[in-house]
């Protein structure tokens, strides 16, 4: 028995193919992130609207596209829309006729539904007094939204957004079921050619891990940049550390439970 389950020569040989698969995975992640976010804003406004006829459809959209597994959504779009005759002859067939278009559509709808909830939670977390104060200053509602509510909401919701982006990225591994050769599909085809159950899948897993962690680091940097006005200079950091060390003997006070208006998706 080989001590290492990975065949290094095979890993090296399959690296170019795996990297091409990674490119597809990145593309099939990035496009729905853009489209889904763009779709999430109007849906979120509708969902938060006091008018029932606007809020109800948006809520149903969220319940369906968030509650159904992505695999089902992918099947629904890929196998379902092909059956509609009007669509097959219409100009939109460019989108629905290709596996790529179907995957992008299904993922965008799913991501949009999750993002509606993230956005709604973040916007609701903005203290009402700040909005009232801005309105009292005579700032237009649009400007209050763009310059007061959104900057705060982004800070409140960044962690939830990161969780959603990371879990969404991992979720794209299923696109191989609609014949798209993403990273998982490449690893699978190498397995089928070589019958090595470990090397291709472990290599693909390593690439996914790297991709996910690049995203994580990007979000960390973004969060630090957004919070730069609170950044502590190094000498003060040392003082704080000394103060914490000095008070370590005291009875620790449990942090008050934060009542946030929304449940963060953990994943």
């Amino acid at each position: 028995m080989n001590a290492l389950p990975v065949d290094l020569a095979l890993a090296w040989d399959s690296l170019p193919a795996l990297l091409r698969g990674l490119q597809v995975t990145v593309l099939i992640t990035a496009l729905p992130l853009v489209f889904g976010l763009a779709l999430a804003f109007p849906l979120c406004f509708a969902r938060m609207s006091p008018r029932r006829w606007l809020a109800l459809p948006a809520e149903l959209f969220v319940v369906f596209f968030r509650g159904a597994p992505v695999l089902i959504l992918l099947y629904l779009v890929y196998y379902g829309f092909g059956q509609i005759k009007a669509l097959r002859e219409g100009p939109l067939w460019v989108l629905f006729g290709s596996a790529f278009g179907c995957a992008i559509l299904a993922f965008s709808l799913n991501h949009a539904a999750y993002m509606v909830e993230v956005l709604r939670g973040s916007l609701n977390a903005v203290p009402h007094g700040i909005v009232e104060a801005s309105e009292a200053l005579g700032i237009s509602r649009r400007n209050v939204f763009i310059w007061v509510k959104m900057p705060l909401a982004i800070r409140y919701g960044l962690k939830a957004y990161q969780n959603e982006v990371v879990s969404f990225t991992k979720g794209t591994a299923i696109v191989s079921v609609v014949t798209i050769t993403d990273l998982t599909a490449v690893a699978n085809s190498i397995f089928e050619q070589t019958y090595d159950p470990f090397t291709p899948i472990l290599c693909a897993a390593a690439l996914y891990w790297a991709f996910v962690n690049v995203l994580r680091i990007g979000f960390d940097l973004w969060g630090r940049w957004l919070d730069r006005h609170n950044a502590v200079p190094p000498q003060e950091q040392a003082q704080q550390r000394a103060a914490v060390a000095a008070s370590a003997g005291e009875i620790p006070v449990p942090a008050p439970r934060r009542r946030s208006g929304f449940r963060r998706p953990v994943l």
Binding site: P5, I72, Y75, L76, Y79, K170
Partner: protein, 242 residues
């Protein structure tokens, strides 16, 4: 609209029902195991030991950073070889079923998430709870089961509910390893009858309804777990009326 005769349709519905049963079995078995191991790992990794911390970091980072689908494939394709390596000749004869691979993979992945939640919840408990139990000479096992874990469960519940509904939506991935679950049956039925909308939407609704029912139960559980925090039964009603 439907090109199906009723008996045919009923036949496909029965297959879907069987698939749904398999999906639920897979999900509940994996969640139960992940919960059990998650609590154990969560408690063990509270140890400040460098080795324990290092192992936990590596484990959590890997399984939170890799798609579950790859873990399922790895165990399904490579499980026999792994068993053979660990148990020698006795393990070589064991064939890995898609169901077994699914349970193993989902358990391994979600143990990491649940352990993280449990760690956080225990870390947020006041230290006085541990000190008080020690001062009362409560034996460690009783302390964990009767003092610490019930409170930690209350703190971890919102996160656990998230994991519950997220994991439910990941169980269909096992159908890609060949398990004849709900999604696989729906795909067969949709392909054979040329009625993809009926079967896929029905399947989606199954997941949505199951998760809605269980979330209602989780709300009841939350109220029950918080019963220690309520001073009088009237207080909640007063809050609602105010």
């Amino acid at each position: 609209m439907m090109h199906l005769s009723l008996p045919e349709f009923a036949d496909y519905l029965r297959q879907l029902g069987q698939g749904a049963l398999i999906t639920l079995e897979l999900f509940l078995a994996s969640f139960a195991l992940a919960f059990l191991f998650g609590v154990l790992v969560g408690i063990l990794t509270l140890s400040p030991n460098r080795l324990v911390q290092g192992l936990w970091r590596v484990y959590a980072s890997i399984f939170m950073g890799v798609p579950s689908l790859l873990v399922i494939f790895l165990i399904f394709y490579g499980g026999s070889a792994m068993l053979a390596a660990v148990f020698g000749a006795a393990g070589a004869g064991i064939d890995i079923s898609p169901f077994g691979a699914g349970v193993a993979a989902l358990t391994i992945v979600y143990t990491a998430y649940i352990a993280e939640l449990v760690r956080g919840a225990i870390g947020n408990l006041p230290k006085g709870q541990f000190e008080g139990a020690r001062a009362l000479a409560i034996p460690p096992l009783v302390m964990w089961l009767k003092v610490i874990l019930p409170q930690a469960l209350r703190l971890a519940l919102p996160g656990l509910v998230n994991v519950w509904s997220f994991m439910l939506k990941e169980t269909p991935l096992v159908s890609l390893a060949g398990l004849q679950d709900l999604v696989a049956s729906a795909k067969v039925a949709a392909g054979a009858t040329k009625e993809p909308f009926v079967f896929f939407i029905a399947t989606a609704l199954f997941f949505i309804v199951f998760s809605a029912i269980t979330l209602k139960l989780a709300d009841r559980l939350e109220i029950r777990l918080e019963r220690g925090l309520r001073r009088t039964p009237q207080r909640r009603d007063a809050g609602v009326r105010a």
